[in-house]
Amino acid sequence: METLPIQVTVNGRTYTAEVEPRLLLVHFLRDVLNLTGTHIGCDTTSCGACTVLWNGRPVKSCTVFAVQVDGGEILTVEGLERDGQLHPVQEGFWEEHGLQCGFCTPGMMMTAVALLNENPDPTEEEIRKAISGNLCRCTGYVNIVKAIQYAARKMREGATVHVGGA
């Protein structure tokens, strides 16, 4: 099978690779770069378990080809923590019991990071709408909403100078 060269920055580190044009971004991250924090939960772009930020915008990485992100910047769950400091969204999920099995969590958190970068003070309804492309089978969402509210508060208070984005 023919391959194409790509160069992509993931979590601040630049990689070059030869990939099949049909290779999905999620498989590139998981199988080629061994960044297995990004999960796969469906085959119809429905669950959001695979959500990552592509140039700061949340995308479902199961529905993007690796070759499309050539030259771009990707942020995955592994890139949220900086210098041993959890991102406020990670902290919020831990504090507010926003996860159970943890499978939806990376995608859910990436969507939350994107939301808070755009809207630092979302209402509960705005949060629910923002995460409606991310399915969670365990938590019933109440604590996920609380976790994102926690992160929003924390980020507004400026306790951490951390804005997400690669």
Partner: protein
Amino acid sequence: MTATAVRGIGMPVKRKEDPRFIRGKGTYVDDIKLPGMLFMDIVRSPHAHARIKRIDVSKALAMPGVIDVITGEELAKANLAWMPTLMGDRQMVLPTDRVVYYAQEVAAVIATDRYTAADAVLAVEVEYEPLPPVLNPFEALKPDAPLVRPDREQKSNHIWHWEAGDKEKTDRAFQEAEVVVAQDLYIPRIHVASIETCGCVANYDPATDKLTIWMTSQAPHAHRTVFSLVTGIPEHKIRIISPDIGGGFGGKVPVYPGYVIATYATLKHKKPIKWIEDRSENLQADSFARDYHIHAELAATRDGKIRGLRVHVVADHGAFDAAANPSRFPAGLFSVCTGSYDMEAAHIQVDGVYTTKPPGGVAYRCSFRVTEAVHTIERMVDLLAHELGMDPAEIRFKNFIQPHQFPYKSPTGWEYDSGNYPAALQKALDMIGYQELRREQAERRARGELMGIGISTFTEIVGAGPSHTFDILGIKMFDSAEIRVHPTGAVIVRIGVQTQGQGHETTFAQIVAEELGIPVEYITVEHGDTDTAPYGLGTYASRSTPTAGAATAVAARKIREKARLIAAHLLEVSPDDLEWKDYAFRVKGAPDRYKTMQEIAFAAYTNFPFGLEPGLEAECYYDPPNLTFPFGAYVCVVDIDRGTGQVKIREFLAVDDCGTIINPMIVEGQIHGGLTMGMAPALFEEIVYDENGTMLTGTFMDYLLPTAVETPHWKTAKTVTPSPHHPLGAKGVGESPTIGAPPAIVNAVVDALSHLGVRHIDIPITPAKVYRILQEKGVAE
């Protein structure tokens, strides 16, 4: 040591498992990568019922990167074309001559990477001769129905008949009854759809002659035993590891053909084999839940006292009886369907039937058919209330088993351990402002608006179970724990149950922390590896806390008894002069003279009394004396849109009683999740087949999981009635809300429409279904 330092039972301890998950550092099965690993993908049947005339693998085999294509014929030579199910039936691993459900496994491709494997699946040519599908269990029971399982001696689609209760006594109660209400209820086929699908990495290492399988398993030990029996490999040469599991809910209890084929492939090729299902394969072919056709009748006096319950169920089990019920309970614990109500008599009959649909009848976050049972009784009680013009709360108060009646012997033979049903319902009504809501409803009704209030006061039955009655394939349903206290007072706990998100690594550590007075951060809990964990039956049916939780407490208490001897030695007093108080052994009357568990642990390895074995370890295999019976009172308030038929849950209050609470934060989380999985089948989810038996809801585009937008902001509250027989008084909670929520929602919707003459609606209550009713009743907008 203070309670805040120990952070034992009752404390909202933040979860110990979360640091790895929030960093994306969990290890789920698809994260496992071994050198030389090959990938497996599965060819599936496009027919619900067909003869296989020919399988041609040559084109697939010729593709670069394709290593092998495995068919049923090959497996048959190894005596692996069939495997036993946990229900004592047998199931095809790969077919040799016929398929019996849509998306059934037909052949398996092994290739160097997942893309090539997927390509090769399309290149396998299979010629089928379609046979008539058997989709309706009532049709299946007709004498001229096509036979789903000609391999069986019994030449009919009937699997088994099962009864509970007293027929004569029940018939008498009905003959004498002043009022009888009857209803057909269908509880459709649904799917757990955990966000992680199923899969495995199977690795046979010829150097050590050992087979290791990382597997999405809720019951690794039981699976090891099954694998050993099926393959003939000695059990100590098989290691099953449940890594982090992305949700189970019962769907990861059965043994699926994919696991067995991957195992066969690694034994054949001596290379690691990875198999991971796609979501559509997961929805289309993995075990389903429910599919119960229920006819129920309730007998009562005219003033609303229930006298008897009569139920007949036709249970659609698909093509193989691959449920995971305890052996003696082919219909699970359905006979708990007399619920929270005291009545003279009940008689329950269930007939299991084969159809050409995927196998199972496993759980959907529910222990053994209790959801079906609770749905039945909670709907029937509401029907009776309507019939008699009584308030649904009033009729419940009138019929509740009263607190003084516990332990209560139910007419179908269960012994309920403890409960206070009136207190739970009263609390729920007070908190939600029931009377005020009824007033509001009357006002809205007068304005033509549709608002409904639904109640469900359920009794759950969990913690299977006592060895005298409960086993799976003969293995008794005990569970286990093993605790080792290291010299510095740090602890490792290994348990026979397996977390899939329930937070065992935290709650089981809290149990040990509480019992030993060792801060929770010094305690590590391990599970899921059959080489290291003690034998257990796994996590499902809310059994972890009732069984392994008890085992953990008992093992910790054994350690404490030994620690008492060491403390006495250190303090130079008699063991009888010591008492365990404030997390230390203290000299009676001189509480300042004490030894903590850390000090004792060190002495257990450095300065133990003469004649005592060194070390500080214990294990317990706990055989529960009874099941536990959590309960709850739920109130749901809905508004119905007359223009769209949409049901909106305005408010939902869940009052749960699960006995002693180990971690209130985790319990609340379990309730939120359980309520959502209760709402899902009530309003959205259903597996639907067309007339050919093709599944129409085989992806997340058509099988609708609730998102954050549809899910209400759940409100929760609790009462605490400890279990008298559990060492901690705990009962288990994971499934209560999934069981209690659906009838509360249905009762609310029916309540909103009751003045129009509506008495019952089958789930899922979709907008289309409601809109049709509104049209019929002339109130659609």
